[in-house]
């Protein structure tokens, strides 16, 4: 299985790193849709990691996304740090925010999902009300763009694309490593019964806490990237519910138990929505997206990836 995926992965990477910039690099609009989809994909990956490994379904990933965005935006505007430092700082900021959430680790299922959502709301209100630091509802504009490194301008579409693509790829690899480790095994085992894993010596709270931190970091970096890419931020946008719903849709659509699934799901859903459905139905095009989702769940509940796989094997057989 793992062996079979490898050539696929290399082909995909080549496609993403070489073919896409060469063929689409000059089409600003398509590139911006793709970049946006990768941002969603990054959050989707972080969400799926928490769901698949931590066994925790979160409705509040916008909390991490928003905190990451604000952390990096403030670090670069107010403190004047370079953007390259801002991105990891965004991740760390989100991870630090997730420390405040450690008490929710003892909650289960929907209790956990909503507690995180409550944090997202609280963070949004803090960002609105604490205007001396966050500049309140007016938001932060003029956030520095991605820098020029070694003569390569990353603030352009292709540059930004390569940056977010690399971020997503690195996170995907990190996820793979965790997943394949014994810790990954123990984490997945916990879903059925946490007691059962604890009595064999697994410190489940610690492991779950670690996953929350990792997931928060990933979503935070995505938020930070987005802030520097859009150059603008306000509380409603940074903590928007869309940063939860779209990634969830993307992750489950692609197959949230897989690693490539959430990212591919995000790319597929965004491209289909923006490039196809929006053409067909300029307002209310999400209706088609909704219908597609419903059809997907009824036809291939495991997501896009298993569907493709079964189609593929069907053809070979």
């Amino acid at each position: 299985m793992k062996q079979r995926l490898k050539p696929g992965f290399i082909a995909l990477a080549a496609l993403a790193y070489i073919v896409v910039p060469l063929t689409l690099g000059t089409n600003n609009y398509v590139m911006s849709v793709i970049i946006a989809s990768l941002v969603i994909g990054c959050v989707a990956l972080s969400w799926a990691l928490l769901g698949n490994l931590g066994g925790m379904i979160s409705f509040g990933h916008s909390a991490f996304f928003g905190v990451g965005a604000y952390a990096s935006a403030l670090a670069t505007t107010t403190l004047g740090l370079p953007v390259a430092a801002g991105l990891p700082l965004g991740g760390l900021g989100a991870a630090a925010a997730s420390l405040a959430m450690l008490p929710v680790l003892r909650l289960r299922g929907p209790y956990f999902a909503l507690a995180i959502l409550a944090y997202a709301h609280i963070f949004r209100i803090i960002a609105t009300e604490w205007s001396s630091v966050t500049r309140g509802a007016a938001g932060i504009s003029g956030i520095p763009a991605l820098p020029v490194v070694l003569g390569h301008d990353f603030s352009g579409k292709t540059g930004a694309y390569l940056v977010i693509l690399t971020i997503v790829t690195l996170f995907g690899l990190a996820y793979t490593l965790i997943n394949r480790s014994h810790h990954g095994l123990a984490l997945r085992a916990m879903h059925g019964s946490e007691d059962a894993t604890r009595v064999i010596g697994v410190n489940s709270t610690l492991l779950k806490g670690a996953m929350l931190l990792v997931s928060a970091f990933m979503a935070g970096v995505a938020g930070a990237f987005n802030a520097h890419y859009i150059n603008f931020l306000d509380p409603d946008y940074a903590f928007n519910g869309l940063w939860v719903t779209l990634p969830i849709v993307a992750a489950i659509f692609g197959g949230y138990r897989t690693i490539a699934g959430p990212v591919l799901g995000a790319v597929f859903v965004s491209l289909a929505d923006q490039l196809v459905f929006k053409e067909l139905l300029p307002t209310g095009h999400q209706l088609v997206l909704g219908a597609l989702l419903v059809a997907m769940i009824m036809l291939s509940p495991g997501g896009l990836l298993p569907l493709l796989r079964s189609l593929g094997s069907g053809r070979h057989a």
Binding site: R106, P110, A118
Partner: protein, 290 residues
């Protein structure tokens, strides 16, 4: 100051009643099937828009619109049930995405049908003040508070004492065992969805009578309903009322004693605090371990 606080408590209580009404359908489906119907807010909104159409096109008052709203949400609920019933694996998570998708469809269908305008009832009778001593409210709030209590009581009785209610809980507890007892899970779940649809219809008409509606509003309704359901403790109907009133009162007091920009903050903080003390909600049962 006492007058302010009294009014805040009263407003919070009434607000709680309306929250409870909105949450009830979601709590029912969640409590009996472990399915989070993310399209619930949209069902409520659909009923509200049906009431709007009845008022603006046919000149019917909100109360007269209830049967129409029931028809609309009832059918929509059957639709949701039908799709949820097709899910073969990972029901809990897939139903989440499925109902989310249905919610998206409904939101956009509402947007396309009724446009983005803000709507509310134009009946002035419902908006008149209803005054008891120092306490002020609208007639519509009082009426639907009473409706909310009545529906809560009815639902509570139905779930705890009727055969269907028991069957519902049995199915959610252990599907195979329920079949062995002669219970057809598909059928009782359909009933549960339809009842949730009925509750959504009442909630929608109520919303139209004392509040304003907009197509994008459904998601916020779902979140509110969901928060109350969880605050209550899964499956607890009295918990829904208690949780909703607690939230309403907490919000109203925040407005009065601090600022209304902190209202949401206070509500969410209350929610978290309750969960930290009672991880299974106000009335949630604690399962045996080992």
């Amino acid at each position: 100051m006492t007058e302010l606080i009294l009014q805040a408590l009263y407003s919070g209580l009434l607000q709680g009643g309306s929250y409870a009404l909105i949450a009830l359908g979601l709590a029912l489906v969640f409590g009996t099937m472990k399915i989070i119907n993310l399209a619930h807010g949209e069902l409520v909104l659909l009923a509200a828009y049906v009431a709007y159409t009845a008022e603006s096109q046919l000149g019917w008052g909100p109360v007269a619109a209830i049967p129409l709203a029931l028809l609309a949400t009832g059918m929509a609920a059957v639709g949701v049930h039908w799709t949820v019933g097709r899910i073969k694996q990972d029901r809990e998570i897939n139903s989440l995405l499925l109902t989310f998708g249905i919610g998206v469809i409904l939101t956009n269908a509402i947007l396309l049908t009724w446009k983005a305008d803000v709507r509310s009832t134009s009946s002035s009778w419902l908006q008149e003040a209803f005054v008891v001593g120092p306490l002020y409210s609208m007639r519509s709030e009082i009426i639907f508070f009473a409706v909310s209590l009545a529906l809560l009581a009815a639902l509570w009785w139905w779930l705890s004492s009727s055969w269907y209610g028991r069957a519902l809980r049995a199915v959610s507890s252990n599907r195979d065992a329920a079949k062995l007892m002669g219970i057809n899970p598909g059928r009782v779940e359909l009933v549960s969805f339809v009842v949730a649809g009925i509750l959504a219809a009442f909630a929608g008409v109520a919303l139209f009578s004392y509040g304003v509606i907009q197509p994008a509003y459904g998601g916020a309704l779902t979140v509110k309903a969901f928060i109350i359901t969880v605050l209550a403790g899964v499956g607890s109907i009295p918990g829904v009322l208690l949780g909703a009133v607690l939230l309403g009162v907490c919000e109203a007091l925040t407005v009065t004693l601090a600022s209304s920009s902190l209202q949401e903050l206070a509500g969410m903080t209350l929610f978290l605090l309750v969960l930290f003390v009672l991880p299974n909600g106000l009335f949630g049962a604690v399962a045996r371990r080992g």
